[in-house]
Protein backbone atom coordinates (compact mmCIF):
# COMPACT_ATOMS: atom_id res chain seq x y z
CA UNK A 1 0.00 0.00 0.00
CA UNK A 2 1.58 3.28 -1.09
CA UNK A 3 1.05 6.10 1.39
CA UNK A 4 3.59 8.67 0.21
CA UNK A 5 2.29 11.43 -2.07
CA UNK A 6 4.00 11.79 -5.43
CA UNK A 7 4.69 15.23 -6.83
CA UNK A 8 6.80 15.55 -9.94
CA UNK A 9 8.48 18.65 -11.32
CA UNK A 10 8.65 18.99 -15.10
CA UNK A 11 10.12 22.24 -16.42
CA UNK A 12 8.28 23.86 -19.30
CA UNK A 13 10.81 25.79 -21.30
CA UNK A 14 9.34 27.38 -24.38
CA UNK A 15 11.01 30.12 -26.41
CA UNK A 16 8.85 32.68 -28.15
CA UNK A 17 9.95 34.91 -30.97
CA UNK A 18 7.56 37.83 -30.77
CA UNK A 19 7.10 40.23 -33.66
CA UNK A 20 7.02 43.86 -32.66
CA UNK A 21 4.98 44.75 -35.71
CA UNK A 22 5.19 48.10 -37.36
CA UNK A 23 3.89 50.37 -34.58
CA UNK A 24 5.60 48.92 -31.55
CA UNK A 25 8.66 48.36 -33.74
CA UNK A 26 8.76 52.07 -34.57
CA UNK A 27 8.61 52.87 -30.86
CA UNK A 28 11.44 50.48 -30.02
CA UNK A 29 13.62 51.75 -32.86
CA UNK A 30 13.02 55.31 -31.67
CA UNK A 31 14.03 54.29 -28.18
CA UNK A 32 17.33 53.15 -29.62
CA UNK A 33 17.76 56.71 -30.88
CA UNK A 34 17.00 58.15 -27.47
CA UNK A 35 13.43 59.14 -28.26
CA UNK A 36 10.09 58.17 -26.77
CA UNK A 37 7.32 58.34 -29.35
CA UNK A 38 3.58 57.92 -29.19
CA UNK A 39 1.10 57.72 -32.04
CA UNK A 40 -2.12 59.66 -32.35
CA UNK A 41 -5.59 58.32 -33.06
CA UNK A 42 -6.89 60.02 -36.20
CA UNK A 43 -10.40 59.99 -34.78
CA UNK A 44 -10.23 60.95 -31.11
CA UNK A 45 -6.79 62.52 -31.11
CA UNK A 46 -5.62 60.52 -28.08
CA UNK A 47 -1.95 59.74 -27.85
CA UNK A 48 -1.28 56.05 -27.55
CA UNK A 49 1.70 54.96 -25.51
CA UNK A 50 2.89 52.40 -26.31
CA UNK A 51 2.01 52.96 -29.96
CA UNK A 52 -0.42 50.34 -31.17
CA UNK A 53 -2.06 49.58 -34.47
CA UNK A 54 -5.62 50.18 -33.21
CA UNK A 55 -7.29 52.77 -31.01
CA UNK A 56 -9.27 50.56 -28.63
CA UNK A 57 -12.00 53.09 -28.14
CA UNK A 58 -12.59 54.33 -31.68
CA UNK A 59 -11.69 51.02 -33.26
CA UNK A 60 -9.79 52.69 -36.08
CA UNK A 61 -6.32 52.07 -37.43
CA UNK A 62 -3.78 54.39 -35.88
CA UNK A 63 -1.99 55.37 -39.06
CA UNK A 64 1.41 57.00 -38.90
CA UNK A 65 1.16 60.23 -37.00
CA UNK A 66 4.04 60.06 -34.57
CA UNK A 67 4.50 62.44 -31.70
CA UNK A 68 7.88 62.63 -30.04
CA UNK A 69 7.37 63.04 -26.30
CA UNK A 70 9.90 64.63 -24.04
CA UNK A 71 12.32 62.48 -22.09
CA UNK A 72 11.24 64.50 -19.06
CA UNK A 73 8.04 64.14 -17.13
CA UNK A 74 6.19 64.19 -13.84
CA UNK A 75 5.65 61.27 -11.50
CA UNK A 76 1.91 60.69 -11.00
CA UNK A 77 2.21 57.49 -9.04
CA UNK A 78 4.93 55.22 -7.76
CA UNK A 79 5.38 52.01 -5.87
CA UNK A 80 8.34 50.74 -3.94
CA UNK A 81 8.53 47.06 -4.74
CA UNK A 82 9.71 45.19 -1.67
CA UNK A 83 8.51 41.66 -2.35
CA UNK A 84 10.87 40.17 -4.95
CA UNK A 85 9.50 38.98 -8.26
CA UNK A 86 10.90 37.19 -11.28
CA UNK A 87 12.75 39.07 -13.96
CA UNK A 88 11.05 37.69 -17.06
CA UNK A 89 14.20 38.33 -19.04
CA UNK A 90 16.56 36.26 -16.90
CA UNK A 91 14.28 33.97 -14.93
CA UNK A 92 15.99 35.05 -11.70
CA UNK A 93 14.43 37.06 -8.88
CA UNK A 94 14.90 40.81 -9.08
CA UNK A 95 16.89 42.42 -6.27
CA UNK A 96 14.69 44.55 -4.02
CA UNK A 97 13.77 47.22 -3.13
CA UNK A 98 13.26 49.17 -6.33
CA UNK A 99 10.80 51.85 -7.28
CA UNK A 100 8.56 51.76 -10.31
CA UNK A 101 6.68 54.84 -11.32
CA UNK A 102 3.97 56.04 -13.60
CA UNK A 103 5.35 59.10 -15.33
CA UNK A 104 3.40 61.49 -17.52
CA UNK A 105 5.90 62.71 -20.06
CA UNK A 106 5.92 66.30 -21.24
CA UNK A 107 4.61 66.75 -24.74
CA UNK A 108 0.93 65.98 -24.43
CA UNK A 109 0.72 62.38 -23.29
CA UNK A 110 -2.45 61.64 -21.34
CA UNK A 111 -1.26 58.21 -20.45
CA UNK A 112 1.57 57.31 -18.14
CA UNK A 113 4.86 55.74 -19.08
CA UNK A 114 6.11 53.05 -16.71
CA UNK A 115 9.73 52.72 -15.71
CA UNK A 116 12.08 52.58 -12.74
CA UNK A 117 13.22 55.51 -10.64
CA UNK A 118 16.79 56.02 -9.59
CA UNK A 119 15.82 58.09 -6.55
CA UNK A 120 16.19 56.93 -2.99
CA UNK A 121 12.77 55.43 -2.07
CA UNK A 122 12.54 57.70 0.97
CA UNK A 123 12.67 60.79 -1.24
CA UNK A 124 10.20 59.76 -3.94
CA UNK A 125 6.97 61.72 -4.08
CA UNK A 126 4.11 62.30 -6.47
CA UNK A 127 4.75 65.39 -8.54
CA UNK A 128 8.49 65.13 -8.74
CA UNK A 129 10.15 65.87 -12.05
CA UNK A 130 12.25 63.15 -13.63
CA UNK A 131 14.26 62.52 -16.76
CA UNK A 132 15.09 59.36 -18.69
CA UNK A 133 18.64 58.06 -18.45
CA UNK A 134 19.59 56.02 -21.50
CA UNK A 135 22.37 53.52 -21.99
CA UNK A 136 25.23 54.71 -24.15
CA UNK A 137 24.11 54.59 -27.80
CA UNK A 138 26.39 51.72 -28.68
CA UNK A 139 24.78 49.56 -25.96
CA UNK A 140 21.20 50.16 -26.95
CA UNK A 141 19.26 47.24 -28.40
CA UNK A 142 15.84 48.61 -29.25
CA UNK A 143 14.36 47.29 -25.99
CA UNK A 144 12.73 48.96 -23.01
CA UNK A 145 15.96 48.43 -21.11
CA UNK A 146 17.65 50.99 -23.38
CA UNK A 147 16.36 53.37 -20.73
CA UNK A 148 18.14 52.45 -17.53
CA UNK A 149 15.84 54.44 -15.24
CA UNK A 150 14.53 57.95 -14.63
CA UNK A 151 16.60 60.29 -12.51
CA UNK A 152 15.29 63.21 -10.51
CA UNK A 153 15.63 66.70 -11.93
CA UNK A 154 14.83 69.84 -10.00
Amino acid sequence: MYTELLEIVIPLDVNYKWSAGFHLGYFLRSLKEGKIVANRCPKCGRLQLPPTPVCGRCHVGMGEEWIELSNQGTVVSYSIVVDPIYDSGTGDMRPVPYTIAAIVLDGGADVAFFHKLEEDPEKVRVGMRVEAVYRPPENREGLMTDIVHFRTIE
Binding site: I8, I10, N15, S19, G21, F22, P53, C55
Partner: protein, 379 residues
Protein backbone atom coordinates in the same frame (compact mmCIF):
# COMPACT_ATOMS: atom_id res chain seq x y z
CA UNK B 1 -40.07 28.87 -32.27
CA UNK B 2 -36.31 29.08 -32.43
CA UNK B 3 -34.61 32.19 -33.78
CA UNK B 4 -32.74 31.88 -37.05
CA UNK B 5 -29.12 32.95 -37.10
CA UNK B 6 -27.30 33.93 -40.27
CA UNK B 7 -23.76 34.66 -41.37
CA UNK B 8 -23.74 38.20 -42.71
CA UNK B 9 -20.15 38.52 -43.87
CA UNK B 10 -16.76 36.85 -43.64
CA UNK B 11 -13.10 37.73 -44.01
CA UNK B 12 -9.82 35.86 -43.97
CA UNK B 13 -6.23 37.04 -44.14
CA UNK B 14 -3.81 35.43 -46.52
CA UNK B 15 -2.15 32.56 -44.73
CA UNK B 16 1.63 32.71 -44.57
CA UNK B 17 4.41 33.38 -42.09
CA UNK B 18 4.06 37.00 -41.02
CA UNK B 19 7.14 38.15 -39.14
CA UNK B 20 6.33 41.81 -39.76
CA UNK B 21 2.98 41.63 -38.01
CA UNK B 22 2.19 41.95 -34.33
CA UNK B 23 -0.74 39.81 -33.24
CA UNK B 24 -2.85 42.96 -32.94
CA UNK B 25 -2.16 43.78 -36.60
CA UNK B 26 -3.34 40.33 -37.56
CA UNK B 27 -6.59 40.53 -35.62
CA UNK B 28 -7.27 44.08 -36.73
CA UNK B 29 -6.81 43.17 -40.37
CA UNK B 30 -9.43 40.44 -40.06
CA UNK B 31 -11.86 42.54 -38.05
CA UNK B 32 -11.48 45.62 -40.19
CA UNK B 33 -11.82 43.45 -43.26
CA UNK B 34 -15.16 42.01 -42.23
CA UNK B 35 -16.45 45.40 -41.06
CA UNK B 36 -15.60 46.91 -44.44
CA UNK B 37 -17.18 44.02 -46.32
CA UNK B 38 -20.44 44.30 -44.40
CA UNK B 39 -20.52 48.04 -43.71
CA UNK B 40 -21.34 47.23 -40.09
CA UNK B 41 -19.89 48.87 -36.99
CA UNK B 42 -19.92 48.15 -33.28
CA UNK B 43 -22.86 49.85 -31.64
CA UNK B 44 -24.80 50.23 -28.40
CA UNK B 45 -28.21 50.82 -29.95
CA UNK B 46 -28.87 47.55 -31.74
CA UNK B 47 -27.96 48.86 -35.16
CA UNK B 48 -24.67 47.07 -35.35
CA UNK B 49 -22.49 44.56 -33.59
CA UNK B 50 -23.45 43.93 -29.97
CA UNK B 51 -20.46 41.89 -28.87
CA UNK B 52 -17.54 39.71 -29.85
CA UNK B 53 -16.53 36.10 -29.39
CA UNK B 54 -12.80 35.73 -29.90
CA UNK B 55 -10.75 32.58 -30.24
CA UNK B 56 -7.09 31.97 -29.47
CA UNK B 57 -4.91 30.10 -27.03
CA UNK B 58 -2.69 31.51 -24.27
CA UNK B 59 -0.08 28.87 -24.95
CA UNK B 60 0.26 29.76 -28.63
CA UNK B 61 0.36 33.50 -27.95
CA UNK B 62 2.75 33.08 -25.03
CA UNK B 63 0.48 35.41 -23.17
CA UNK B 64 -1.72 34.76 -20.16
CA UNK B 65 -5.13 36.22 -20.90
CA UNK B 66 -4.25 36.30 -24.58
CA UNK B 67 -7.50 37.99 -25.40
CA UNK B 68 -6.14 41.04 -23.60
CA UNK B 69 -3.91 41.47 -26.58
CA UNK B 70 -6.86 41.18 -28.89
CA UNK B 71 -9.54 43.22 -27.18
CA UNK B 72 -8.66 46.56 -28.81
CA UNK B 73 -8.56 45.15 -32.29
CA UNK B 74 -11.63 42.99 -31.72
CA UNK B 75 -13.82 45.85 -30.56
CA UNK B 76 -13.96 44.71 -26.98
CA UNK B 77 -13.84 48.13 -25.39
CA UNK B 78 -16.86 48.59 -23.10
CA UNK B 79 -18.42 45.54 -24.63
CA UNK B 80 -18.55 41.79 -24.20
CA UNK B 81 -15.62 39.97 -25.78
CA UNK B 82 -15.50 36.39 -24.56
CA UNK B 83 -12.68 34.11 -25.56
CA UNK B 84 -13.28 30.52 -26.49
CA UNK B 85 -10.11 28.55 -25.81
CA UNK B 86 -10.80 25.92 -28.45
CA UNK B 87 -10.76 25.54 -32.22
CA UNK B 88 -12.40 28.39 -34.17
CA UNK B 89 -15.45 26.35 -35.15
CA UNK B 90 -16.41 26.32 -31.46
CA UNK B 91 -16.29 30.11 -31.42
CA UNK B 92 -18.84 30.16 -34.24
CA UNK B 93 -20.91 27.52 -32.41
CA UNK B 94 -20.94 29.58 -29.20
CA UNK B 95 -21.74 32.84 -30.96
CA UNK B 96 -24.79 31.19 -32.53
CA UNK B 97 -25.96 30.05 -29.08
CA UNK B 98 -25.56 33.58 -27.74
CA UNK B 99 -27.90 34.91 -30.41
CA UNK B 100 -30.35 32.03 -30.06
CA UNK B 101 -30.60 32.87 -26.37
CA UNK B 102 -31.74 36.36 -27.24
CA UNK B 103 -29.18 38.27 -25.24
CA UNK B 104 -27.48 39.47 -28.44
CA UNK B 105 -28.68 40.09 -31.96
CA UNK B 106 -25.34 40.42 -33.71
CA UNK B 107 -21.91 39.04 -32.85
CA UNK B 108 -18.47 39.34 -34.40
CA UNK B 109 -16.36 36.18 -34.26
CA UNK B 110 -12.59 36.39 -34.72
CA UNK B 111 -9.83 33.79 -34.41
CA UNK B 112 -6.09 34.21 -34.75
CA UNK B 113 -2.83 32.35 -34.26
CA UNK B 114 0.77 33.06 -35.10
CA UNK B 115 2.26 29.60 -35.24
CA UNK B 116 5.60 30.88 -36.53
CA UNK B 117 6.54 32.55 -33.26
CA UNK B 118 6.94 29.38 -31.23
CA UNK B 119 7.81 25.70 -31.57
CA UNK B 120 4.34 24.23 -31.70
CA UNK B 121 5.52 20.75 -30.83
CA UNK B 122 6.40 21.89 -27.30
CA UNK B 123 2.94 23.30 -26.90
CA UNK B 124 1.33 20.16 -28.22
CA UNK B 125 3.49 18.17 -25.84
CA UNK B 126 1.97 20.28 -23.05
CA UNK B 127 -1.41 19.19 -24.37
CA UNK B 128 -0.76 15.70 -23.11
CA UNK B 129 -1.38 14.64 -19.56
CA UNK B 130 1.85 15.42 -17.71
CA UNK B 131 2.71 12.36 -15.66
CA UNK B 132 1.64 9.54 -17.92
CA UNK B 133 1.99 10.76 -21.48
CA UNK B 134 4.02 13.97 -21.60
CA UNK B 135 7.37 12.65 -20.47
CA UNK B 136 7.40 10.20 -23.36
CA UNK B 137 7.94 13.23 -25.59
CA UNK B 138 4.73 12.64 -27.47
CA UNK B 139 3.32 15.48 -29.47
CA UNK B 140 0.29 15.60 -31.71
CA UNK B 141 2.25 14.41 -34.73
CA UNK B 142 3.61 11.28 -33.10
CA UNK B 143 0.18 10.50 -31.66
CA UNK B 144 -1.43 11.12 -35.02
CA UNK B 145 1.07 8.73 -36.53
CA UNK B 146 -0.11 6.05 -34.10
CA UNK B 147 -3.69 6.70 -35.14
CA UNK B 148 -2.80 6.71 -38.82
CA UNK B 149 -1.00 3.38 -38.52
CA UNK B 150 -3.91 1.78 -36.63
CA UNK B 151 -6.46 3.13 -39.10
CA UNK B 152 -4.50 1.93 -42.10
CA UNK B 153 -3.99 -1.52 -40.63
CA UNK B 154 -7.64 -1.86 -39.70
CA UNK B 155 -9.10 -1.01 -43.09
CA UNK B 156 -6.33 -1.47 -45.63
CA UNK B 157 -6.13 2.25 -46.30
CA UNK B 158 -2.77 2.86 -47.95
CA UNK B 159 -0.10 5.50 -47.67
CA UNK B 160 -0.73 6.21 -51.35
CA UNK B 161 -4.35 7.07 -50.60
CA UNK B 162 -3.23 9.43 -47.85
CA UNK B 163 -0.74 10.97 -50.24
CA UNK B 164 -3.56 11.49 -52.74
CA UNK B 165 -5.27 13.72 -50.18
CA UNK B 166 -2.20 15.93 -50.13
CA UNK B 167 -1.98 16.01 -53.92
CA UNK B 168 -5.66 16.94 -54.20
CA UNK B 169 -5.57 19.62 -51.52
CA UNK B 170 -2.38 21.30 -52.66
CA UNK B 171 -3.77 21.33 -56.20
CA UNK B 172 -7.07 22.80 -54.94
CA UNK B 173 -5.09 25.46 -53.14
CA UNK B 174 -3.88 26.78 -56.47
CA UNK B 175 -7.41 28.11 -57.00
CA UNK B 176 -7.47 29.73 -53.56
CA UNK B 177 -5.72 33.11 -53.33
CA UNK B 178 -5.66 32.91 -49.52
CA UNK B 179 -3.92 29.57 -49.33
CA UNK B 180 -0.33 29.41 -48.21
CA UNK B 181 1.13 26.44 -50.04
CA UNK B 182 -0.30 25.65 -53.39
CA UNK B 183 1.51 23.46 -55.87
CA UNK B 184 1.27 20.50 -58.19
CA UNK B 185 2.54 17.46 -56.37
CA UNK B 186 2.61 13.80 -57.25
CA UNK B 187 1.97 10.90 -54.94
CA UNK B 188 5.66 10.08 -55.29
CA UNK B 189 6.62 13.57 -54.08
CA UNK B 190 4.60 13.04 -50.93
CA UNK B 191 5.80 9.51 -50.27
CA UNK B 192 9.43 10.48 -50.68
CA UNK B 193 9.26 13.57 -48.46
CA UNK B 194 11.09 13.46 -45.11
CA UNK B 195 9.50 11.30 -42.44
CA UNK B 196 8.33 13.12 -39.29
CA UNK B 197 6.90 10.19 -37.42
CA UNK B 198 6.23 7.13 -39.50
CA UNK B 199 3.95 6.89 -41.44
CA UNK B 200 3.46 10.66 -41.38
CA UNK B 201 5.83 12.53 -43.64
CA UNK B 202 6.42 16.22 -43.81
CA UNK B 203 4.07 16.68 -46.76
CA UNK B 204 1.40 14.70 -44.92
CA UNK B 205 1.33 17.32 -42.18
CA UNK B 206 -0.16 20.78 -42.03
CA UNK B 207 2.51 23.45 -42.55
CA UNK B 208 3.26 26.20 -40.02
CA UNK B 209 1.16 29.26 -40.73
CA UNK B 210 0.01 32.64 -39.38
CA UNK B 211 -3.33 34.26 -39.98
CA UNK B 212 -6.76 35.26 -38.76
CA UNK B 213 -10.40 34.94 -39.77
CA UNK B 214 -13.48 36.90 -38.81
CA UNK B 215 -17.17 36.65 -39.48
CA UNK B 216 -20.33 38.41 -38.40
CA UNK B 217 -23.51 36.65 -37.30
CA UNK B 218 -26.94 38.18 -36.85
CA UNK B 219 -30.48 37.16 -36.05
CA UNK B 220 -32.75 36.65 -39.05
CA UNK B 221 -34.31 40.09 -39.42
CA UNK B 222 -31.03 41.93 -39.22
CA UNK B 223 -29.20 39.36 -41.33
CA UNK B 224 -31.71 39.85 -44.13
CA UNK B 225 -31.39 43.63 -43.88
CA UNK B 226 -27.62 43.63 -43.79
CA UNK B 227 -26.82 41.20 -46.56
CA UNK B 228 -28.46 39.94 -49.72
CA UNK B 229 -26.76 36.60 -49.18
CA UNK B 230 -27.49 35.38 -45.65
CA UNK B 231 -26.20 31.92 -44.82
CA UNK B 232 -28.28 30.25 -42.12
CA UNK B 233 -26.60 28.21 -39.43
CA UNK B 234 -28.94 25.26 -39.17
CA UNK B 235 -27.07 22.53 -37.37
CA UNK B 236 -24.75 22.55 -34.35
CA UNK B 237 -22.95 19.71 -32.68
CA UNK B 238 -19.83 19.22 -30.62
CA UNK B 239 -18.53 16.40 -28.50
CA UNK B 240 -15.62 15.16 -26.36
CA UNK B 241 -13.90 11.78 -26.45
CA UNK B 242 -11.58 10.53 -23.71
CA UNK B 243 -8.01 11.72 -23.43
CA UNK B 244 -5.65 8.80 -22.97
CA UNK B 245 -5.03 7.16 -26.32
CA UNK B 246 -5.25 3.74 -24.76
CA UNK B 247 -8.85 4.36 -23.71
CA UNK B 248 -9.94 5.01 -27.25
CA UNK B 249 -10.39 3.00 -30.38
CA UNK B 250 -8.39 5.32 -32.56
CA UNK B 251 -9.94 3.89 -35.72
CA UNK B 252 -13.39 4.95 -34.51
CA UNK B 253 -13.93 8.73 -34.40
CA UNK B 254 -16.64 8.44 -31.80
CA UNK B 255 -16.91 12.09 -30.74
CA UNK B 256 -16.99 13.21 -34.36
CA UNK B 257 -19.87 10.86 -35.12
CA UNK B 258 -21.78 12.22 -32.12
CA UNK B 259 -21.13 15.82 -33.09
CA UNK B 260 -22.17 15.15 -36.68
CA UNK B 261 -25.30 13.34 -35.55
CA UNK B 262 -26.41 16.34 -33.48
CA UNK B 263 -25.62 18.79 -36.25
CA UNK B 264 -27.43 16.80 -38.94
CA UNK B 265 -30.42 16.11 -36.73
CA UNK B 266 -30.86 19.80 -36.02
CA UNK B 267 -30.49 20.62 -39.72
CA UNK B 268 -32.85 17.86 -40.82
CA UNK B 269 -30.22 15.88 -42.72
CA UNK B 270 -30.79 12.11 -42.82
CA UNK B 271 -28.56 10.92 -45.68
CA UNK B 272 -25.39 13.01 -45.41
CA UNK B 273 -23.65 11.97 -48.63
CA UNK B 274 -26.77 12.80 -50.64
CA UNK B 275 -27.92 15.99 -48.91
CA UNK B 276 -24.62 17.79 -48.40
CA UNK B 277 -23.11 19.68 -51.33
CA UNK B 278 -19.67 20.35 -49.93
CA UNK B 279 -17.56 19.79 -46.85
CA UNK B 280 -14.78 21.90 -45.40
CA UNK B 281 -13.12 19.81 -42.72
CA UNK B 282 -10.03 20.15 -40.55
CA UNK B 283 -7.36 17.73 -41.66
CA UNK B 284 -4.16 18.39 -39.71
CA UNK B 285 -2.68 15.28 -41.35
CA UNK B 286 -3.57 13.62 -44.63
CA UNK B 287 -5.04 10.44 -43.12
CA UNK B 288 -7.46 12.59 -41.13
CA UNK B 289 -9.34 13.71 -44.21
CA UNK B 290 -10.23 10.07 -44.82
CA UNK B 291 -11.01 9.25 -41.20
CA UNK B 292 -13.03 12.41 -40.56
CA UNK B 293 -15.03 11.78 -43.76
CA UNK B 294 -16.14 8.52 -42.19
CA UNK B 295 -16.94 10.22 -38.91
CA UNK B 296 -19.01 12.79 -40.77
CA UNK B 297 -21.10 9.94 -42.16
CA UNK B 298 -20.11 10.53 -45.75
CA UNK B 299 -19.18 6.87 -46.18
CA UNK B 300 -18.95 3.65 -44.22
CA UNK B 301 -16.14 2.94 -41.76
CA UNK B 302 -13.00 2.18 -43.72
CA UNK B 303 -14.50 3.77 -46.83
CA UNK B 304 -12.54 7.01 -46.65
CA UNK B 305 -10.03 5.97 -49.26
CA UNK B 306 -12.68 4.91 -51.73
CA UNK B 307 -14.66 8.11 -51.13
CA UNK B 308 -11.61 10.12 -52.08
CA UNK B 309 -11.15 8.15 -55.27
CA UNK B 310 -14.79 8.42 -56.25
CA UNK B 311 -14.75 12.20 -55.81
CA UNK B 312 -18.44 12.14 -54.92
CA UNK B 313 -18.56 15.11 -52.60
CA UNK B 314 -16.24 18.08 -52.86
CA UNK B 315 -14.15 17.92 -49.68
CA UNK B 316 -11.76 20.78 -48.94
CA UNK B 317 -12.13 22.46 -52.31
CA UNK B 318 -10.30 25.30 -50.55
CA UNK B 319 -7.17 23.23 -50.16
CA UNK B 320 -7.91 22.35 -46.55
CA UNK B 321 -5.53 22.79 -43.65
CA UNK B 322 -2.84 20.91 -45.54
CA UNK B 323 -2.30 23.99 -47.65
CA UNK B 324 -1.55 26.03 -44.57
CA UNK B 325 -4.07 27.32 -42.03
CA UNK B 326 -3.07 27.91 -38.42
CA UNK B 327 -4.43 25.93 -35.50
CA UNK B 328 -7.40 27.61 -33.69
CA UNK B 329 -8.16 29.61 -36.83
CA UNK B 330 -8.72 26.32 -38.65
CA UNK B 331 -12.40 25.68 -37.89
CA UNK B 332 -13.36 29.31 -38.41
CA UNK B 333 -11.50 29.32 -41.70
CA UNK B 334 -13.50 26.28 -42.76
CA UNK B 335 -16.62 28.30 -41.93
CA UNK B 336 -15.37 31.25 -43.97
CA UNK B 337 -14.61 29.04 -46.97
CA UNK B 338 -17.92 27.20 -46.77
CA UNK B 339 -19.84 30.48 -46.47
CA UNK B 340 -18.05 31.95 -49.46
CA UNK B 341 -18.94 28.81 -51.43
CA UNK B 342 -22.64 29.13 -50.61
CA UNK B 343 -22.50 32.81 -51.46
CA UNK B 344 -21.03 31.90 -54.85
CA UNK B 345 -17.94 33.99 -54.24
CA UNK B 346 -15.15 31.43 -54.51
CA UNK B 347 -14.16 32.07 -58.11
CA UNK B 348 -12.05 29.30 -59.55
CA UNK B 349 -12.68 26.97 -56.64
CA UNK B 350 -16.47 27.39 -56.76
CA UNK B 351 -18.65 24.35 -56.25
CA UNK B 352 -21.54 25.18 -58.55
CA UNK B 353 -25.01 25.35 -57.10
CA UNK B 354 -23.94 24.52 -53.55
CA UNK B 355 -26.79 24.99 -51.09
CA UNK B 356 -25.83 22.95 -48.03
CA UNK B 357 -22.36 22.80 -46.53
CA UNK B 358 -20.78 21.17 -43.51
CA UNK B 359 -18.05 22.86 -41.48
CA UNK B 360 -15.79 20.83 -39.23
CA UNK B 361 -13.31 21.80 -36.54
CA UNK B 362 -11.33 19.65 -34.18
CA UNK B 363 -8.96 19.90 -31.24
CA UNK B 364 -6.99 17.80 -28.85
CA UNK B 365 -4.79 14.82 -29.47
CA UNK B 366 -5.89 12.51 -32.33
CA UNK B 367 -9.05 14.52 -32.74
CA UNK B 368 -10.28 14.20 -29.20
CA UNK B 369 -12.98 16.82 -29.59
CA UNK B 370 -14.92 17.78 -32.68
CA UNK B 371 -17.36 20.47 -33.71
CA UNK B 372 -19.68 20.10 -36.72
CA UNK B 373 -21.78 22.95 -38.07
CA UNK B 374 -24.27 22.71 -40.92
CA UNK B 375 -25.07 25.79 -42.97
CA UNK B 376 -27.53 26.49 -45.77
CA UNK B 377 -27.87 29.16 -48.36
CA UNK B 378 -30.59 31.62 -47.39
CA UNK B 379 -31.29 33.25 -50.75
Amino acid sequence: MRRKVGIVGVYQTKFERKPEQHVQDLVFEAVKGVLEKTGLEFSEDGNGIDGTVSCSQDHWDGWTISSKNVVDAAGGHLRSEEKVAEDGAYALYYAVLCILGGHYDCILVVAHTKESQVDGRLIENAGLEPLYSRMLGLDFTSCAALQARQYMEAYGVTEEQCAQVVVKNRRNAMDNPYAQESMILTVEDVLSSAVLSDPIKILDAKPVSDGACALILAEEGKAKRWTEKPIWVEGLGCCYDRHYLGYRDLTDPLSLKEAAKKSYSMAGITIPHKEIDLVELSEFYSYQELLWSEGLGLCDPGGGGRLLEQKQIPINRSGGLLSGVPVNVAGLNRAVEASLQLRGETGKRQVEGAKTAVIHGTGGVCGQMHCVITIRRGF
